[in-house]
Symmetry: C2
Subunit: 458 residues, 2 copies
């Protein structure tokens, strides 16, 4: 291979520096998940094709990466398909299903639903699980959109209690407080949105109405109303929805207005009651601000109760960095009915970008090397090996430069790798039983006794 | 979908219990990797097909999972191939390469080599990286062999120093000492094996000779000699190799015999010198025993210096649980010559099986929930929510049962999830400001003041 090697479009290598930052994000989230009683789950990268198809809509189905059957590549292809391929009479889908029975997971939600149904007799419900794994989508690669990316989900399934919603808001707060980032947690309830469609007089248009409202942020009120009109929402209904656009202020300011406006819809009243419970029970938050957003809709077809979205209150990232909500029928697609659940998802790539932009990554990331022993030749190196073990026993990440090369090269190595200190034990230090410690940031050097090395770099 | 959902043959779901155990293994290894100055790297699951093909031999190539080009499935298939498919004139390989340009990684080594060559100008050499990611192989599924499994590798590339070998032995020792498992680290050197072929008089038969010797454990001396004969090794050479089978005892016992026997091979002498250095420099080990094994060969085509293998000294697992060695030309396949490296690989699935069999997993695995607040209704639950936050702030994983159901069901939930304590705050406890703490293992209950809850379960 003469060409410089490369990786497929839309995929990424993560260098050690990027990995330490990513691990910082994932381990912070994971620790909070565990503190809240969520337990880890992993499902295979490959699912049976039939598990995935038909779950993500027509567009989603096209974006599923299919795996070619192994062995004789067309072992499963019938003569009919082979001939149809030559004449052009066989459709791509038929061909694909003849050469592929497996596909890469498209998200973590469908495999989770599949797992719950498959293992329903072994699971202690309510089942609180988290899952941090990559997913694959054959999307057109573009800035910020990848064909392989991690999802980071937590769900409680098998409980209708609003305490779950309350805890998930607190969980958002704990995660972003640990990451040192101020965020706004936006909340809405699908039942309130349905109530708005109801009182407008066109409840059957709820999907069109809410899909349009969801775009308010991006396209403004006029275009939202235009879209509704185009979808067949009557002028009268659009007028009926109008009070929505004037809502502002805190939850306690908006609540009485909504109660009055939506008084004829029992469903909306239940949604408002549920929201009130959540606002009250959540209590004081640390880094997050909980805000009611009457236009928040996120994947309406899916959610049936609370809807969450988290945005950074710092930096310039306009989009959301987390989302979530309650669903009533996640496992129904696999034949297990009446399993209500509520889940959230952290957008690791976006959180990474925000922390980088706002300079919130800790200077000393867990996992980086702290001390390098310089190499002055065999006798010195053998001596350093012993000290190295002592330093590592003390829990300090340290290494010995393996080759005897010029000091400039060894210092450069420490610099490139972000190592904080270099321990120098040359012939002189060896005889005197000392070690010269160089602080790579300040350039300062000081000689200490060898048994004081650990405290010198602490 | 009426059928019970399932996953592809040879793949696995990992339940929360399995995941906590797996995380314990991976995080123990990872902490030691980092303490030794190795930094994390991740590469994409998909590589360009041309990056992988031709790197694993003919058999390996067949086991690579190929990904079907997305979009119009046969967009890339020429008319010629389509016609050939109908007539049977087109070979499977040609067809596959027309419908697939990407494949799932088969191991971590080739992607690592690809990464090093692609990013050679950004890397600080010697490059010490670790990588813990799944790989995929279209092997026939069977007991203990999976189509998706994790590899866990650490390599130093760009250094010829034997200090790397020394540190890797110490690293094995640190990992298994942290896991509480006694192991034997077997070591050999490819140069000694080559020397044996040399002194036998048939150096050109080195691969056949060593491949046969490698099987001594499994098939015995007689069959090993038979295999050599079948491969064209002369009777005289076989006689020349005979002293190998009589070698036994410690390194210091075997070394003089080897030096004398292989005195005419400078290459063997260098191998023996290198082994001596490693044995001496390693020093005292904690849980591991370093042993010389003159018949250890592991993937001979690949390794050029030290060869490692780790076996459990407890339990009944006969195979190795780790392997590794030095290679001189890992990146040559991608055009970067003269990059010597040495690496090791931990077999996570096998280590899991050994720890399970020998009962070495800690009873309290990191990440499991410690305390469950029982749910006695809204007023009590709201009170528990506050206590819950205090408990979590103290770093204790805890949860509140979200629904108000019978106590028996709540206790069963705690039992199933392995939760150590249940905190009971009913009407009575609420009034008195106390909490009844039930130890789920002993069944004992005691009432404590609410501000003593944390110390009661510590």
């Amino acid at each position: 291979m003469a060409n410089k090697p490369s990786i497929p479009k839309g995929t990424r290598d993560f260098s050690p520096t990027e990995m330490l930052r990513r691990k910082y994000i994932f381990s912070t989230i994971e620790k909070v998940f565990q503190k809240y009683g969520f337990l880890p789950l992993e499902t295979p990268a490959m699912e049976n094709l039939e598990t995935l198809t038909g779950k993500y809509g027509e567009e989603g189905d096209r974006l599923i990466f299919k795996i070619l059957n192994s062995g004789d590549a067309w072992g499963g292809v019938s003569e009919e398909v082979k001939k149809g391929l030559a004449t052009g009479e066989v459709a791509p889908g038929k061909f694909a299903s003849a050469v592929s029975e497996k596909a890469l997971r498209y998200d973590l939600t469908v495999p989770f639903a599949r797992y719950v149904v498959q293992h329903q007799n072994e699971i202690a419900f309510p089942f609180k699980r988290y899952q941090i794994q990559p997913v694959w989508r054959a999307d057109r690669p573009q800035k910020g959109r990848y064909r392989e990316f991690y999802q980071c989900d937590a769900d409680v399934i098998g409980s209708t209690s609003l305490l779950n919603e309350v805890e998930l808001v607190q969980l958002f707060d704990d995660v972003f407080s640990a990451l040192g980032l101020h965020v706004v947690v936006k909340i809405n309830d699908r039942k309130v949105l349905s109530g708005i469609a109801e009182v407008s007089g066109q409840p059957e248009k709820v999907v069109d109405i809410v899909t349009a409202i969801d775009k308010l942020d991006k396209i403004g009120r006029e275009k939202v109303e235009e879209e509704m009109r185009a979808k067949g929402v009557s002028d009268e209904a659009i007028k009926g929805i109008a009070p929505l656009f004037d809502l502002k202020g805190s939850w306690s300011e908006q609540r009485p207005l909504l109660e009055k406006w939506l008084s004829s819809s029992p469903m909306a009243q239940q949604g408002l009651k549920d929201l009130s419970f959540t606002f009250e029970a959540v209590g004081a938050l640390k880094s997050a601000k909980l805000e009611y957003d009457p236009t928040l809709a996120r994947g309406l077809d899916y959610y049936t109760g609370a809807i969450f979205e988290v945005k950074a209150a710092e930096g310039t990232m306009p989009g959301s960095i987390c989302g979530g909500g309650r669903y009533d029928d996640l496992t129904g697609i696999f034949g297990l009915k009446n399993m209500s659940g509520v889940g959230i998802s952290f957008g690791a790539d976006r959180i990474y970008d925000v922390l980088l932009e706002t300079n919130k990554f800790p200077t000393e990331l867990g996992g980086s090397t702290k001390l390098l022993f310089a190499n002055f030749g065999e006798a010195e190196a053998m001596h350093c090996l012993k000290l190295l073990r002592t330093v590592r026993e003390a829990g300090i990440a340290a290494e010995l430069y393996p080759d005897q090369v010029k000091m400039a090269k060894q210092f450069k190595y420490a610099d490139d790798k972000g190592i904080a200190y270099v321990a120098i034990i040359g012939e002189n230090e060896l005889i005197q039983g000392i070690v010269t410690v160089k602080d790579m940031k300040t350039g300062e050097q000081k000689a200490v006794k060898q048994d004081e090395l650990i405290s010198a770099i602490a």
